[in-house]
Amino acid sequence: MASLYERLGGEAAVDAAVDIFYRKVLADDRVNGFFDDVDMEAQAAKQKGFLTMVFGGPNNYTGKDMREGHKHLVERGLDDSHVDAIVELLGATLKELGVGDADIQEVADLANSVRDDVLNR
């Protein structure tokens, strides 16, 4: 059976998802404060990294990277509620792209699997 990443459509799916997802993030008052002072273009590239990872695609991120990458955000109050919000927006993005519930659940599980690293616990 094809991998999750292949089923979703690989890099093309990531490209299709990145604008939709990022737009949702910027429009959501629960989380957009964390994205406000970062350069939008650089941020869009990072969203691609994030989506590739949670779509189960090829990436080199380690748990340590996730800890370091979000440390300054945890210091600013990043907690479980924000991870929940991101997972929710991710699900809404995939739904919009016509992805089935089972695959959406798998993506959510992948995102949740690094929750402790992201929150530096």
Partner: protein, 323 residues
Amino acid sequence: MTQLKYKDTVYTVPDGSSVLDTLLDNGEDIPNSCRAGACQTCLMQATHGKVPAAAQNGLKDTHKAKNFFLACSCVPQDDMEVCLPDVEKLKFAATVTEKNKLSDNVIELKLKTDEPLKYYAGQFVTLWRDDVLGRNYSLASLPHVDDELIFHIRLIENGQFTGWVADELKVGDRLHVQEPVGDCFYTQGNPEQSIQLIGTGTGLAPLFGILRDALQSGHTGEIHLFHGGLDASGLYLHDMLTHLAEHNSNFYYHPCVVHANEGMASNIIEADLLEIVSQTVSSPAGWKSYLCGDPEIVKKLRKQIFMAGSSMNDIYSDPFVYS
């Protein structure tokens, strides 16, 4: 803490400090302008040590390959040895051929380089008064049409470079132009795509270049140019743009001011630039957008246009960042 070697002296870089700050704090003269990674005035070269990726954002591949980097955006992770690049190869000598007043505080400067310069209208160069003082200016001219490079320079109160341009620089004087950079220019191959050009103040300079390039190239899609000023005197190409709009059926000019003047031209709207843009082009999906000028306004526009449905890849911007 890391060590930084420059001209035979080794400096200690305080944690989190950039190469630029470290050298300036130690009394070295390093050219700089925006201190935010936008202008490339602080270009340096690493002869030893690893250059962090963030210090090469926006550089040409040929420059990356030579270990060029932006000193203001380089927080060394390892010990580094750095130098100023061999600038002679990057700089072109030029002569001032014309200096005209476009408005009370905007000067049109025309320069002729000794050797022809390859560029796209809308890109920006660094103009150097001497080895240390350099500032970015955008190209309003067209390479295949104009013999000279044309700039619109807004005078800034107590501005080092603009003060010199206003008070001292005269026709016949020599200065240096450093090679054009940036991706804010018209690209061929999509003549039917709608385009919006949005800028404040001399943000009009690159937009005017892009507009002329598009019209010259036979662009058939709609082109909307929004120019914002504090009042009508800031709309320094008003008459010419109004004329162009009357003679090109696919070109629309939207002059826009914060404060109305008595007796100002009837096509000028007193309104918030961002609102006029969102009312005129409410769904920019599929459009190409070019945003230039005041950094805060450019940032807000970029977000507004992206949120209204444009892909990030279709938004080009040149914020005129200063420190």
